[in-house]
Amino acid sequence: MLAAITALLVCQLTGEAVVRSLDLPFPGPVVGMILLFALMLARAPLPAALGNTADGLLQHLSLLFVPAGVGVVQHLELLSGAGLRLVAVVVLTTLITLAVTALVFAGLARLLRADDLAPAKPETQEPS
């Protein structure tokens, strides 16, 4: 557990250092993810608990957005004035982007017969 967390932090720290020194326009953790991905593919010796630790973190991913969400509530006055129109643009754009992305993906997957991965495995299916 401790070794797994340390491994995640080492990847993040390396990502952070790469982003800073090369002045890249994206956050360090994303580079850290690519680094961990490469290490796992290269079968580098990684802590055995890495899988469980990652699952634990990702299972409660929603929790990690609560502080930022509370920060947003403090800044809701930014939405005053044009607020309703801004919210309308957000909702409509979200709807359209979701639909376009999923339809393009699923349509092409069917065309290329790459969609036999489609149905969720029964043991993992949850009412949604």
Partner: protein, 239 residues
């Protein structure tokens, strides 16, 4: 007798109080979400944020005071992003097979998110500042704020719009995909992560591990692509 005022003054100054409050609010929100059969309307982020905000506002706590405790949770966003590599490797055969649909959907979705935001903002009569803040809002908050700042927009407004996009997408993705009769969970998850970054990814993991994996890939790739596309597309879209 205990002096509650003194006790409050002491506790509210320590990170322990707001860290604990954040965790309790989330556990309660997660329990409500589970009790509602993971109904998308019972979004755990939205419920927990509402609970905490009520307490923070009612007690007159300034945001820095709250964040002194909540930062320990916020900090974990970094390691959690790195951890997305684990499900990615686990589902590598499926990811490899879906490589072409994924990349085409990435480009289509990313351009749609940026162009629709600007076009709709214009249709609603919003000003240039609003368009700049709206354009990068499907990227994860840190990237979106960086882009907005670079383009001369207001990063704080972008942060608000980005979180709003996250929660909106997490709530509407399941009913929308059901209405479209899309049963491809890779496609559903990918759309959730591309459109609604981390909050959409959290929703996707709640529904299905494969959907969560593709959401995580989309979150990473769209963060990178949005950072490249917004500076390229914006002069043309604003014209």
């Amino acid at each position: 007798m205990i002096n509650f005022v003194d006790l409050w003054v002491y506790l509210s100054g320590s990170p322990l109080l707001w860290l604990t409050a954040t965790l309790i609010a989330y556990l309660a929100a997660d329990a409500i979400s589970a009790a509602c059969g993971r109904n998308p309307l019972a979004n755990p982020v939205l419920i927990a944020v509402t609970f905490v905000s009520i307490v923070v506002v009612a007690t007159g706590t300034p945001f820095p005071g709250y964040f002194a405790g909540a930062q320990f949770v916020h900090f974990l966003l970094g390691p959690a992003t790195v951890a997305l590599a684990v499900p990615l490797v686990r589902h590598l055969p499926q990811v490899r097979r879906a490589l072409v649909p994924m990349l085409v959907a990435l480009i289509a979705g990313s351009m749609t998110a940026i162009a629709c935001a600007v076009w709709l903002a214009r249709a609603f009569g919003l000003d240039r500042a609003a368009m700049l803040a709206l354009a990068p809002k499907s990227a994860t908050a840190a990237i979106a704020m960086g882009i907005a700042e670079k383009m001369g927009g207001d990063p704080a407004l972008t942060a608000v719009l980005t979180i709003l996009t996250g929660i909106t997408g997490a709530i509407i993705v399941t009913p929308l995909m059901d209405a479209l009769r899309l049963r491809n969970y890779a496609a559903r998850g990918f759309a959730a992560g591309l459109t609604s970054h981390g909050i959409g990814t959290a929703r996707a993991f709640q529904v299905d591990p494969l959907a969560g994996t593709f959401a995580g890939i989309a979150l990473g790739l769209n963060g990178l692509l949005t950072a490249l596309l917004v500076p390229l597309l914006l002069p043309w879209l604003l014209n």
